[in-house]
Symmetry: C2
Amino acid sequence: MNKKIYILDSTLRDGAQGQGISFSLEDKIKICKCLDDLGIDFIEAGNPGSNPKDLELFKSMKSIKLNHAKLVAFGSTRRAGTKAEDDKNLKDLLDAGVETIVIFGKSWDFQVKDILKTTLEENLAMIYDSIKFLVDKGKKVIFDSEHFFDGFKSNEGYALETLKIAKEAGAEVVVLCDTNGGTLPSEISKIVSKTNKVLGDNLGIHCHNDMGMAVANSIMAVEQGATHIQGTFIGIGERCGNANLSTILPTLICKYDYELNARKSLDKLTKISRYISEISNITLSDDTPYVGASAFAHKGGMHIDAVAKDPKSYEHIKPELVGNKRRFLVSEVSGKSTIWKEVQKIFPNIKKDSEEVKVITDKLKELEFDGYQFEGAEGTVELVMRKVIGKYEPFFKLNHFKIIGEQPSLKGTFSSTALINITVDGKTEITAAEGDGPVNALDKALRKALEVFYPQLRSVRLVDYKVRVLDSESNTGAKVRVLIESTDGVEKWSNVGVSKDIIEASWIALVDSIEYKLIKDIERKVRTYF
Amino acid sequence: MNKKIYILDSTLRDGAQGQGISFSLEDKIKICKCLDDLGIDFIEAGNPGSNPKDLELFKSMKSIKLNHAKLVAFGSTRRAGTKAEDDKNLKDLLDAGVETIVIFGKSWDFQVKDILKTTLEENLAMIYDSIKFLVDKGKKVIFDSEHFFDGFKSNEGYALETLKIAKEAGAEVVVLCDTNGGTLPSEISKIVSKTNKVLGDNLGIHCHNDMGMAVANSIMAVEQGATHIQGTFIGIGERCGNANLSTILPTLICKYDYELNARKSLDKLTKISRYISEISNITLSDDTPYVGASAFAHKGGMHIDAVAKDPKSYEHIKPELVGNKRRFLVSEVSGKSTIWKEVQKIFPNIKKDSEEVKVITDKLKELEFDGYQFEGAEGTVELVMRKVIGKYEPFFKLNHFKIIGEQPSLKGTFSSTALINITVDGKTEITAAEGDGPVNALDKALRKALEVFYPQLRSVRLVDYKVRVLDSESNTGAKVRVLIESTDGVEKWSNVGVSKDIIEASWIALVDSIEYKLIKDIERKVRTYF
């Protein structure tokens, strides 16, 4: 039977140490459910000793049933020169009321002497007493050996001593931590294999990403005998973060035949990783391995042609395995064939070498040259195609709009107001709206005016609004690119606008987003009628 | 003597394949200068064959002197069934007019048969002829062996054959590419060492990050004999990107004693990495190893105390080595002492436990809660301190401003105009200005009015203007944070403003930046008088 690997997720504990990360109780509960759904074995839910708020979570989770995952509490060994039974931190750990507890202790002699300012002997006693105390209370204990690799390099004998004593005291797993993230993969490999020979099984690994090697180091450790991996989702954590489980899981599952409980739910990885980054209020970088929006996106014309012939030519795994999608990006370097594929989705009869495809390609390149970017702005791409092919007519005529920003305004504070005058089928509508900023005011006014003629627009709302200043060197006069994402509850689409003026750029994207919606509705009708 | 390692940067070529990356000619020239400044050996500046725009760069760079870096051109082998001397792509490579050329060819039998649709023999001939053709023209050739590792696993003998023939043809370096980024560090290690035994020296490595291992894989290859590393800055590139040189360089330099030309300029790494990400229009993630804003940031109270005792307790290298800074993040634990250090820079006599430090700490936390971010906004931090301590008086009174954005305007197109009315020492100034967008118009009008009273403001100009939409879910009504950087030619300072209204947020930052300048001038005078 294949080696079984256990995963401990520390998103809620070590991850919460990351800059700008702070979870509400509700956030934490949502994350626990996600991790359980994904088949994670252990969820390190907090440090009740150092952060009393973490106790709330343990309480609330008692009433929530998890399918497989076990909640674990994290805390340190007893303080120097005290008794375990008098140690408040150890008591708090018991109060968490969970079956398994992670205890961290020092394995680096320098840390013991210069930071804890105690003796090497007392540190061993602290590890032994703390674990023994919890084991006697019927708890299962995982020992996190802090700075193990630095300790091993500084004083191999002592580092190993701290692990041995932890096992004597009853620790089920001892976890080798590269706390400072400064250990090289080849060192990890050597040290884990040596340690495995001395200590035997049930070794764990906990890596940090200060050299960008936390994922590789975790994998190297597994190859050398580790069976328990600690990490966080999308790699959040102090400094450069922890080993990223959204990268480690698919690698272990797709490249090895280890037994992992998450194997059966791997196709949920992308959805859950993106959801956790939403909750963590982090923009998941598009180039994130396996789960990023670009992880299987192809831009170079040559690559696109090859992938069309056989995906394995430029993809190391099938995107579906992790629940992600393949994308062909429309861009300067992407050739006619990419754009033709897009055109075909709407106009199946147009040939690759037709004049239209050429004109569309040139038009898109010209717009890109002006600062447009069509990756993730499919709505605008479609409108450009329709305009070229002649399958487009404007849904309204703008006669005039005026935006007034005033400080102080009538109400004393700053205010933005927009007036708009449009014509639809010869009927003119004039209206106005106040908003949070000029763009919001203009957005409101335009919808207000259009809803008179197109009531279906009531269901449309913006879900995202991004501003990117291009060539920022040229100060407040720089070009800006505005990307907006809209939804009508059924479909989601994105549109882009570029101008030296943020209001004009936003106006272009707003109008596009509304016209795109109206075109889609007509098509849906047509489909129903015939 | 220690092994010498050569670095080839492909930010402008492979990096440009990344989603959302498109460089202007000016951008490319700036990047070349940065890379040269950092001591990079080779700059892969483009693919003149597939992208004619790349020839512009080679032309423009002829008139620009680089200290050390060599510009290289990139292109493919001749097409199947053609003569090298008739191959347009190879001609374009010669037109680039550089001494060294990178040629890529296929080393994976599957790619040759199923994608190129030619024979294994013809592929070998394509590699040989193309390299020989360039060598005969007096060029130095680097051979990129595409998909080498997949090829080695599929047909070891043939993969090695493609390298041997490249060397026979005169290639100086053969580069082993993990094109799909699916090779594990232990596989890289084995395959490179085997290849090294067969091929001898002058092996290179080119890794992609689809498993988050491009950096580790590059380092493993060097340990097994590779002496030439290809990567991109901050790791941009197709799909999940390329090996990140901003991570590889410091690791090779700080953890090994290899000879690298960049060793002497390592302390420029952070500045240059951040500058390149600015040019690439990418937000450099705070947790980026070595160069990110949080790479040496400490949040946990226990960590902060330990680092205060000895940095090596939670830092694997000294931040100064890479030109980065240690930071203690504002949090319940670290807050006061961190902020006190800042206060002391301006008001040395204020004690740590004074009421002022407490009030400033609370005020900054309150502002951060509202969405302010003070990293790189020292100007604003200083003004907050002065306002609390009472060392601040406004330099002007705003009576009223009004911004009008109009479409169509008198001139037909869209226009933004700002009117402003301010008072200084009882004298009132009313003026107006037109600009590119509402913020630019307001900026111009405000300066125009203030210069009447403070002529020294004529020397001030904005060098950067950044807009970041916070909680973008709440669409065009979302909060925005505006960061502006100003200079008077001597000093540079940054100010930040947050509001639901981009104009108000920009106004706050603009006023701050001007007041900061005026305060500094007074201090300079004071210093000269006494």
